[in-house]
Symmetry: C2
Subunit: 180 residues, 2 copies
């Protein structure tokens, strides 16, 4: 598996190095509270108001600051800060495409592209439970509107909640104490 640049430690380190003069950033540093969990760790990176929308636009093929600002609706200063933290987390890379004047584009790394399933799951949920009619239609190669099913890679069966067994490896953070 590829490099894993996104550990909170790495972020904290690169932030301390003081590369940019921007936003003191909400770097995770520590999450002393709460269950240790990959979900929480992921949310530390993409769990704010704009991050996933930025990544949506990058997946759509909009790579420039003004495009992203326009299509997400994020305030420009927030966008600047978020792009920096996403870069520090290894989710996007900033690429200069013009020397003079200096101009930049933002692209997804492998880690960033790998967020597509998260966004698709969220889109599916939003379409089902929130919006009236989908403002964006995603079609699969087969020509039909995309409807996704999640299956287990090992056995090929559809994943149902009842079929999952959870096991906590963190002491003091047991799961399901009262399975009500």
């Amino acid at each position: 598996m590829a490099a894993r640049p996104a550990t909170p430690a790495a972020i904290a380190a690169s932030d301390a190095a003081g590369a940019g003069a921007v936003a003191p950033a909400r770097v995770p540093a520590e999450r002393p509270r709460g269950r240790p969990c990959a979900v929480a760790a992921g949310l530390d990176i993409v769990g704010d108001r704009w991050a996933l929308l930025v990544i949506r636009e990058l997946l759509f093929g909009n790579h420039r600051f003004d495009e992203i600002a326009h299509y997400t609706g994020a305030p420009r200063d927030r966008l600047t800060a978020r792009l920096r933290t996403l870069e520090a987390a290894g989710v996007v890379i900033r690429r200069q495409y013009s020397d003079r004047p200096p101009r930049f584009e933002y692209h997804l790394t492998d880690a960033g592209r790998d967020l597509a399933p998260v966004i698709n799951a969220l889109r599916a949920w939003g379409e089902r439970w929130v919006v009236e009619s989908p403002p964006i239609v995603v079609r699969h190669a087969c020509g039909q509107p995309l409807e996704t099913v999640t299956i287990c890679r090992h056995c090929g069966q559809k994943v149902r909640r009842a079929d999952l067994k959870l096991e906590s490896r963190a002491e003091g953070w047991e799961i399901v104490r009262h399975p009500r």
Copy 2:
């Protein structure tokens, strides 16, 4: 907090009657900017720092205020506020299980349970790109650690990004101007 006008709450209620009928919902009034999009609409409901962690715990079987506060690490006042907005959005319901003293539990609605794929996708991403070793192991019924694949329901093929065709139905919000 401006109570979110019972958008999806109505859906859950009318779900029984409404066959395949979708959402008498209206797109959240309060996102005047940015591309209209089910992802953004979803994030308006579960896109803050704590919402998905709360839902994670409810999926784990922890239904009481103190449990949720402890396992998520959310400050109690934030938790109160988030539970209220999630309730207003129809994602959780608040259930009294004791009259005297008054005591309450929080449970997921169908809409809330339907967020499991989002959380699983996020867990997969976090395990791959953020954490060193998964603090929680999810096993499928087949006995193997769960690894998920997303497939298209129509054709059964694995969904790859290159196979997706996007089509915006919102005027002025076209997609992919430079598919770089």
